[in-house]
């Protein structure tokens, strides 16, 4: 399910048109050697202002969904409560405590951004 309003909307239409139609949605079709058809097409029309505009708009949109590296990997799946317990545990070293604080802050920021986006 693609919820991307740009790649489903006007910008996508313009870009597909510029790329000769449908190039962007080739979805995993790679030519031998590892270069994607989308990339080849993008290079071909790279000078076009429309492409640049799409690229920028797409970056903005895609910065708002999908997962980001926020938590330290070894904290993923550990509850806030357990992390807070580790934070006050005298056996937890100071570096790990700093990392826990980073993870908790990252989670808090991610949740507040999700709440903000949900209200829009």
């Amino acid at each position: 399910m693609n919820q991307d309003p740009i790649n489903n909307g006007d910008l996508d239409g313009r870009m597909n048109s510029a790329f000769g139609g449908g190039t962007v949605s080739v979805g995993g079709v790679y030519i031998p050697g590892g270069r994607s058809l989308g990339r080849t097409a993008a290079v071909a029309v790279g000078a076009a202002g429309g492409y640049v505009a799409h690229k920028i708009a797409s970056w903005i949109w895609h910065s708002q969904h999908g997962k980001k590296n926020v938590e330290h990997s070894h904290h993923v799946g550990v509850s806030d409560e357990d992390l807070k317990q580790l934070l006050v545990d005298p056996l937890t070293d100071s570096i790990e405590k700093a990392k826990i604080r980073q993870t908790l802050k990252g989670r808090g920021q991610r949740r507040s951004r999700q709440n903000r986006d949900n209200k829009r």
């Binding site: 997962k67 590296n69 604080r101 990252g106």
Partner: protein, 207 residues
Amino acid sequence: MTGWHELLLPHWLDPAEAAEPLLLSKLREYVAQSPMAVSEFELACIDDSDPDRRDLAAYCLARVMQERESYVMRPHAIAGGRELLEQDVSPTVIRELVVGLGRSGDPIGVAVMALAAHESPEVREAVAMVVPNLFLDGIEEARSCVSALTQLAQDSVASVREWAVFGLVLLIDAGVSDDDASAAVVAARADPDAGVREEARGVESDT
């Protein structure tokens, strides 16, 4: 064999927090079974026309960089991620690479310091997020980290300032004694953004 994006993309797009442990589990499985996994992620960061797959690849690469004991591929991911910083890749990809490199514990991670003035706020925010780790992991001196964070604490974007002030407080709490760090935290208590002010209060009783 199922492609990496078919395996991982549904979990990456799932907004639920509970999806991330499953995503990491699937990623670990895939990397363990696929000798070319890191190369696939690197290529997708540069070359994939689908922004979702491209950003997912960056996420995966950054995660591999941080898996200090699980992956034999970690050194390749770190070296590849460092090279990708020199490529024409999107800010979202750079953001992930910054987090991966900065938290990798590898000396190569100091490369992220050069991005403190990057044009994208999400990249600057990531730099502010990981600079303290360079000190905590013993790969950068406190003075350099404080210098970068005090610069970022003046940023025009509130979330960048917030992470920078948070980082300065972490360094101070870790025993760093630096007048510039203390001054930046004190100044941040008058920041127009409530989140920045809240972080600045972290060491209020100590300064």
